[in-house]
């Protein structure tokens, strides 16, 4: 029998041998270089697809989705992540490997897409403020807890504007993911963060004024 050499060495074509893969952190220059940009972008998109598939497999919400829907999300997230990476190339500082840095875009985007999908059919009433479960152990602690709960309800009812109240209940009480609410409203996460921040300042000030919190910490935040 003829002796067989290791496949990895025998099958390596001379062309491939002459063109080793570029250094991993050569990505930025390849993505900017007119000659290599197209190929590098295609490779980046493949990387984003792998990251998106990895992330969706990790998320419990992702496992509940059908194969077709998962693939749809994977491709949407990979497209979006690729665009994000390309538009932020100038911000890559080389403190980690490029692939590690880029991977995070796909992870984040996939998580957003999966949460959006999971909440797509769910109702978000934004009105109902359910009865909180008290973890107080004794009568005194229970009384204090009830008192603070009542004060918080009053603050939510009176210190916030209608829309602030709806946003605060959705995000803080119902646990609606902020990107889901932003999408429904046709707005952005940053706009909702701003409203949430304003609502927290108002609630804290109201509770402080009425003596439920010891000291005001938000004066500098009120403008």
């Amino acid at each position: 029998m003829d002796e067989v050499e290791p496949v990895a060495i025998v099958n390596r074509s001379p062309v491939v041998a002459q063109m080793p893969p570029p250094p991993v952190d050569d990505w930025v220059s390849r993505l900017r270089d007119d000659v290599h940009r197209h190929e590098a972008t295609r490779e980046l998109h493949q990387l984003m697809l792998r990251a998106a598939r990895h992330q969706i497999a990790r998320m419990p919400e992702g496992r509940d989705l059908g194969w077709a829907r998962r693939e749809e999300i994977v491709h949407a997230a990979a497209d979006e992540a690729t665009s994000s990476v390309l538009s932020r190339l100038g911000r890559f500082e080389g403190r980690s490997r490029f692939t590690t840095w880029a991977y995070k875009f796909a992870i984040l985007q996939t998580a957003v897409e999966v949460r959006r999908s999971a909440w797509r059919q769910r109702e978000t009433d934004l009105e109902a403020l359910g009865e909180p479960v008290s973890d107080a152990t004794g009568p005194e602690a229970y009384a204090e807890s009830s008192d603070l709960t009542r004060a918080m309800r009053e603050a939510i009812d009176h210190a916030l504007t209608d829309h602030q109240r709806h946003v605060a209940i959705a995000l803080l009480v119902e646990g609606v993911p902020i990107d889901v609410l932003a999408e429904r409203l046709g707005s952005t996460r940053n706009s909702l963060y701003k409203t949430l921040h304003d609502a927290r300042v108002r609630l804290r000030d109201d509770l402080t004024t009425r003596g439920y919190l010891g000291f005001a910490t938000s004066e500098e935040a009120v403008s």
Binding site: T82, R120, T124
Partner: protein, 83 residues
């Protein structure tokens, strides 16, 4: 399908809201004082930023004016009847 002119990557636009989301958006608007026809027009347009719209109403802006400030063409249709 549209594509990114530089890299041939498919563009993503804000999708048309699903019927459930349209109903949800419409309820948010009518609760805030928008009349039904204006609310219906704004609810179906996923590019209308309800958050900005409702913030304006929170500050005392009349709903129809808020819609016009936000550049909604829906609001212009009934401009005669709303002054």
């Amino acid at each position: 399908m549209g594509s990114n002119s530089l890299y041939g990557i498919p563009e993503r636009r804000r999708p048309r809201p699903s019927p459930e989301v349209v109903r949800w958006r419409m309820r948010r608007l009518t609760d805030a004082g928008f009349d039904a026809s204006l609310a219906a027009g704004l609810a179906v347009d996923g590019d209308v930023d309800l958050h900005a719209l409702l913030n304006l109403v929170d500050r005392g802006c009349p709903p129809h004016l808020a819609a016009r400030i936000m550049g909604s063409r829906v609001a212009d249709v009934g401009v005669g009847s709303h002054g």
